[in-house]
């Protein structure tokens, strides 16, 4: 009798679920996702919801930056485009916010493709500069569209087919559904020939063009997908918020998103992004709630926001130095250790 897991087709060997442990993990994840509202109180549930929203955004950025190697500092602005699309579609057109989410994705995608044009000529720092300009330009546009820094998202637009997304539990389930769907899509793109083309462009774009990869098209595609994810995340953020202000989509947020990609694992589109969000966003929020009383006891409340960037900066720098492949690589080493246990190799 054969011992172990054997595959008889390449299709089976290329599936997401290849080993019994995958199936077990999937079931555990589904139960955890479904049971979260029952276990978590309102505060933690909203933390989970924002984590899922940012997961979507970071997956998109991870495709642009991690997979295709095209640095973008305009990702938060693209989220803003998505958020304002949903808010304005609901306010002015009376469109349902849920139905406006795909529209938000497409709008941000269109703008992201425009932003990809400099990438045909520019690389690395120069491309980062170009995207920085785009971020500031979009911020300026937001400040003209939304001078009061407050655009309400009408609550009546958040009800679709009897499901009221003003209810945090419903909103959580909706966000989780969208996030999981986007994660599956991201994983599929990463393992497809398009994903390989992006990796080839990242590693060596001249060689990529020699082996038959259309480099400009691949870059545009990476920006388009990244933009779509940012737009959807922004749209979800608008549904999550009572009202949106553009201070949520500034340059510093773009840099934080980039930090999440670097810390989680660049190129590890799904799980790396999730780890990045859990560390830098959720992790920080939890830490902050512990630190705030401490800081106020020390009379340092005024420095609270500076403190945030000192800690985040230190975490990002430490990750880049100690584990350039991100925290996901640490997890993989742990997995490898237990796979071989009790032997060392």
């Amino acid at each position: 009798m054969p011992a172990g897991v054997f595959k008889e087709t390449y299709e089976a060997d290329m599936a997401f679920i290849r080993y019994p442990i995958h199936k077990a993990a999937l079931i555990a994840a589904i139960i955890a996702l479904l049971a979260a509202p029952a276990v978590l109180d309102r505060y933690y549930l909203s933390l989970a919801t924002t984590a899922l929203i940012f997961w979507v955004a970071v997956m998109g950025l991870n495709i642009t930056v991690g997979l295709a190697g095209q640095i973008s500092l305009a990702h938060a602005a693209l989220m803003g485009v998505g958020a304002y699309t949903v808010a304005h579609a609901a306010l002015k057109l009376g469109l349902n916010a849920v139905l406006a989410v795909p529209l938000a994705g497409i709008t941000a995608m269109a703008i992201s493709v425009l932003l990809s044009l400099p990438s045909f000529k520019l690389k690395e720092y120069y491309l980062a500069m170009a995207s920085l300009a785009a971020q500031l330009l979009l911020e300026y546009a937001f400040s003209r569209i939304d001078p009061d820094q407050y655009t309400p998202v009408p609550p009546e637009a958040k009800v679709l087919a009897g499901v009221d997304l003003n209810n945090p539990v419903n909103l959580y389930y909706f966000t989780a559904l969208v996030a999981v769907l986007m994660a599956v899509i991201a994983a599929n793109i990463a393992r497809s020939t398009y994903g390989r083309a992006m990796k080839a462009v990242r590693d060596n774009d001249v060689a990529a063009s020699i082996v038959g990869v259309d480099v400009p098209l691949t870059k545009a595609l990476a920006f388009a997908i990244g933009g779509f994810y940012a737009g959807v995340a922004g749209g979800l953020y608008a549904i999550y918020s009572v009202g949106i202000g553009w201070e949520a989509f500034t340059l510093i947020v773009s840099i934080e998103l980039l930090g999440m990609v670097l810390v989680g694992g660049p190129g590890r589109v799904v799980w790396g992004s999730l780890l990045g969000v859990l560390t830098l966003r959720t992790g920080w929020t939890l830490l902050e709630s512990q630190l705030t009383p401490l800081l106020s006891a020390l009379g340092m409340t005024a420095y609270a926001s500076a403190f945030k960037y000192i800690v985040l900066g230190a975490v990002i720098t430490a990750t880049i130095i100690l584990e350039p492949e991100g925290l996901i690589a640490v997890l993989r080493r742990v997995k490898e250790y237990f796979r071989l246990w009790p032997y060392s190799y």
Binding site: Y10, M14, I185, N188, S192, R196, K199, D203, V213
Partner: protein
């Protein structure tokens, strides 16, 4: 005296350079599959290739040798479409491919390996090999995103082709390892496998043995012989190592300073005065 570099390619038929008649005279019958006519290429003031005309016969293993800077790699780059020559043309199976892009030439059946095996250092062996099938890919990005229909069928098909060459070149254990983490000998084998996955009629190998140890060289030689025996692929081998070339090649073309200085059987090449002078320096 007539320079021996232009023995082939001197005949002008109807105003077009044609090598066929002289080729036939020199080598007799035998189908030519790939040939260049008077290829000239300069970098700035340096003439890398000077009216180079070579012929590759179907099924043969042609060694392309010469000292550093002789223009071997440049010629390979012209044939595979990386460089566009100033003058001259490249033909493949009777078709003028001079104006085609590298991947269009790949689609016609010309594959190549690279001097630096570690081209996509963070990609795994399997990904590197499957990447080379990208010009043939089917299925839109939407199908790929859903892992469905044509995209899924194509991925499975590509995987099957990749596994065939992994099996052929014995790369099983490295399948999921990033190419950058592999020893140079294995990287070169991966590169060879990546070229083979395109199921080419001609494979151009750019110094597949440069910088390798004796054992690694033997491994590559075995792989080359294995491919010839199982697939009958026509091969052009750019190499420094004269010993390897004389051992396995059917014919050699020796280049020096952008010109062809010898074209014939390997055992004659090592005795040829012009070749010896070029190698030793004179």
């Amino acid at each position: 005296m007539q320079n021996s570099s232009s023995v082939i390619g001197e005949a002008k038929v109807d105003g077009v350079w044609d090598t066929s008649s002289l080729y036939m005279k020199k080598y007799g019958a035998g189908e030519r599959i790939l040939w260049t006519v008077d290829v000239t290429l300069s970098f700035g003031g340096v003439r890398a290739l000077d009216r180079v005309s070579i012929v590759v016969r179907k099924g043969e293993l042609l060694g392309l040798i010469g000292p550093n800077g002789a223009g071997k790699t440049s010629l390979l780059n012209v044939i595979s479409g990386v460089y566009k020559p100033e003058k001259g043309r490249v033909f493949f199976k009777g078709i003028d491919i001079s104006n085609l892009k590298p991947h269009e030439r790949a689609r016609l059946g010309i594959a190549r390996t690279f001097q630096h095996g570690e081209m996509f250092h963070s990609m795994t062996v399997l990904e590197t090999i499957m990447l080379r099938l990208h010009p043939w890919h089917r299925g839109s990005i939407v199908e790929a995103a859903l892992w469905a229909f044509r995209a899924k069928r194509w991925e499975v098909e590509a995987r099957e082709k990749a596994e065939y060459v992994i099996d052929l070149l014995d790369l099983h254990e490295y399948r999921h390892m990033p190419v950058g983490a592999l020893p140079p000998g294995v990287q070169k084998k991966v590169d060879l496998a990546a070229a083979m996955v395109q199921d080419p009629e001609v494979i151009l190998m750019d110094e597949p043995m440069a910088g390798l140890s004796r054992e690694e060289k033997d491994d590559i030689v075995r792989a080359i012989i294995e491919i010839r025996e199982t697939r009958g692929t026509t091969m052009v081998l750019v190499e420094h190592d004269l010993e390897v070339v004389t051992d396995i090649c059917d014919r050699v073309v020796v280049m020096d300073r952008g010109k062809v200085i010898f074209d014939g059987p390997p055992h004659e090449a090592v005795k040829d005065e012009a070749v010896i002078t070029a190698y030793i320096g004179g």
